[in-house]
Symmetry: C2
Subunit: 449 residues, 2 copies
């Protein structure tokens, strides 16, 4: 099995690459659940397609105000998958509230622009709907507390849909970490290093490039994501990098994040892209993007590990989530696809990680590799949705919960303050209010879902 | 030319690997200089051997209190190189002061334990001797100011002997940076990731491993370097990583370092090594090492770049200085030996850096590759000494000077404070007192030495 086969399709290939296979895996239909989707843009449609492959889920409602593309595209997916037409709530931005009145809905999945996540999440929780919440999760410290309090108040749970926690190599490395391969963990790195210039700027008609429009004139992510690059300077998308290393170090489950400091480079990439592709006279060439091209964040933990996150989305570069997992016995680096473990690999040199990945392949991946094969982002989207659906069906605790959502999301507003203050130290709130010390990390030990 | 040939002998292979070749390169003997060496331990002997290859240098004095090993080994090198026996100043720790009274000495090279550097440097400057100063340079903020003031007061110059600035791939990448290959620079990384456990702990008789002794019972670096790991927690050895990226970003020459923050992991590696190799009952198993195993530092610059340094010397890992040079056009990564440049390499993927290294090979390396071939640390030791000797002979400004020494060295005490405060922001003093804005960076443009 070569590296590419091991990882499945490349992580870059997500938008629009839905599988056309119609073979359905066998899931228990006991406690079959009805799901409503809030937000069916590119990400919501990816979830929709994935859910359509399951016979233990009915998609009975869609809420999205975009009747030009989001709703018709979603209906097409459902038709192709021979699914019944759901109820549509697309009257306006707030029509999801009417959807939440539907008693038949057991759970919702929220895949909307970031600034809607918490408001919609709270409304769903208060309506008694279990919530699957897309990343990024919350955009202010207050929002982080609000969503935590909503779960505690309603007793209805929320799962944070951080799919990279389920990446095959990440799960294998987590497996290694939990089985002591790295010894005691010391330093971990992650990040979001993804050249999004052609995602943040497009022609207003297609999701990738061909123009330099954004905001009202942009399409899909260029519409809502790019304004964050105009108005904010910080670690805007921490969860893909932080989620996996937080789970490896038991954050919120015996450990917690204590403090951070962030620095940002000058902002050049988006402006340069506009000038290069739209000309210096294009109106967007006058936009002053606040977001520094590369934002680097250091984190400390209660158990004495350090972490480093890199946010790098406006420059030409190969895709990389920048993982490095290092302990007293050795380390693994994602970019290198190599590992060094004292006494196991030759002294002072790297060894390719392939055999290690196969040896420590996670039980979940062994169990479900066929089902995951054509799922989004190299298969990991299957796992995150599978965990959500199965936990909903069996009324079990979610493996990634509201405390994870709050803890990982609060990095963004805190890093904005730190960057503004030239890298000042910021304390990270304990959203568990002390419960972190007794909560158990079961993420790696599950072989069911 | 493969990568290994390009880089010369491995950077790990320095101690004890002196070349036995006796062919001398041709240097101008006009203004031939007399040098005295202060400190002839492992590093001083490496310099001594290198200087012996030159017919434009006489080594007329050695100062070192170690008459057991340092002095006899040095005399052996001189004999093997058919050099005259120099005067020896080994009466006690302060005998170098008598050496500085020798009128015939033009310049000194200081390769002593870190805590002696500034004291000896100031004494040499006040005696009118040009100073070649080994890294690390100064261990307190006050010492950084003291050495700067000594150069300004005496008008005698100091060169900071940071050899990695002359590494062949580093100079090629600097050449690329200066010629605009990376566009406008944004983010740079460096570090000192070198498993020094068997250097910091040895048998008291040999420089590498075979025991777990240090301090009075240790040999060479274990004698004086290891106590820093007992007593200090911070970025203890910043210059190999910082020097090259500081020169690429014109630090002290149109740009300056503004602030830093540092975090450290828990300390495990040295204690574990002692227990694993000397047993839990060994007296050193009770030593409480303050130095965190991995110390990460973020830096900001006046021109809006960010930097990240990694200090990682107590864990099993392959050697790496962790370089990453990133600008608006793309980036190079040392660990990967790969590069990505928009419009020049294929979109979204890496390209091996070999052709780039050859195309941008620095003129100095082209000129002197034969002379550098057998020099220490893959040849770079030739260049740093050549620049020192030639600038001394021709009475020219040193390419790396006392402001670089102070600016790069002050990272250590500032990082110690930052680590102690959990990653607080520390302002970096401007040792040039404003001169940074008008000073010119000529480092890359020299083709002479």
């Amino acid at each position: 099995m070569d590296r590419k086969t091991f990882l499945g399709t490349t992580a870059l290939a997500s938008v629009g690459l839905f599988s056309h296979s119609i073979s359905l895996p066998v899931f228990s239909k006991k406690n079959k659940i009805n799901i409503g989707l809030i937000g069916v843009g590119a990400r919501g449609q990816s979830h929709l397609d994935e859910l359509c492959k399951r016979d233990d889920v009915e998609i009975i409602a869609l809420a999205d105000p975009d009747s030009d593309w989001a709703i018709p595209s979603s209906l097409e997916i459902l038709k192709r998958r021979s699914r019944k037409e759901p109820q549509i709530f697309g009257k306006d931005d707030n029509d999801y509230l009417r959807m939440l009145e539907m008693k038949e809905i057991h759970a919702v999945i929220i895949s909307t622009p970031w600034e809607w996540h918490v408001k919609q999440g709270i409304a769903a929780l208060e309506a008694g709907k279990k919530v699957g919440m897309e990343v990024a999760g919350a955009i202010s410290i207050q929002e982080c507390w609000d969503i935590v309090h909503a779960v505690e108040r309603t007793g209805t749970p929320l799962m944070f849909l951080e799919n990279v926690c389920y990446r095959r190599d990440v799960m294998a490395v987590m497996n290694m970490a939990k089985r002591g391969v790295f010894g005691e963990l010391l330093h971990l790195q992650g990040g979001y290093q993804h050249d999004l210039r052609a995602v943040k700027l497009n022609d207003g008609k297609s999701p990738y490039g061909k123009g330099v429009e954004f905001g009202d004139n942009g399409f899909s992510e260029a519409k809502w994501r790019t304004p964050h690059s105009v108005n904010r300077n910080g670690e805007l998308y921490p969860t893909h990098g932080l989620g996996p290393i937080a789970m490896m170090t038991d954050i919120n489950r015996g450990n917690r994040l204590v403090s951070l400091s962030s620095v940002a480079t000058k902002s050049r990439g988006l402006h340069k892209y506009i000038v290069d592709n739209g000309g210096a006279q294009h109106k967007n060439a006058a936009v002053d993007f606040k977001l520094g091209d590369i934002v680097t964040t250091l984190l400390t933990t209660a158990n004495g590990e350090t972490m480093m996150l890199s946010h790098d989305t406006s420059s030409p570069r190969p895709y990389s989530l920048n993982f490095r997992i290092q302990g007293t016995h050795g380390l693994w680096m994602d970019d290198l696809q190599q590992i060094h473990i004292e006494g196991k690999t030759k002294p002072h040199v790297w060894e390719t990680d392939q055999t290690w990945m196969e040896t420590y392949d996670h039980p979940l991946w062994k169990k479900y590799s066929a089902e995951a094969k054509n799922a989004g982002h190299g298969g990991m989207d299957f796992f995150v949705l599978n965990a959500f659906v199965e936990c909903c069906k069996n009324n079990e605790e979610f493996p990634l919960d509201v405390y994870d959502m709050a803890t990982w999301s609060v990095i963004t507003p805190l890093s904005e303050t730190s960057v503004k203050e030239g890298g000042s130290k910021q304390d990270i709130p304990d959203f568990t209010q002390g419960k972190w010390s007794s909560r158990k990390n079961t993420f790696n030990h599950r072989a069911d879902y």
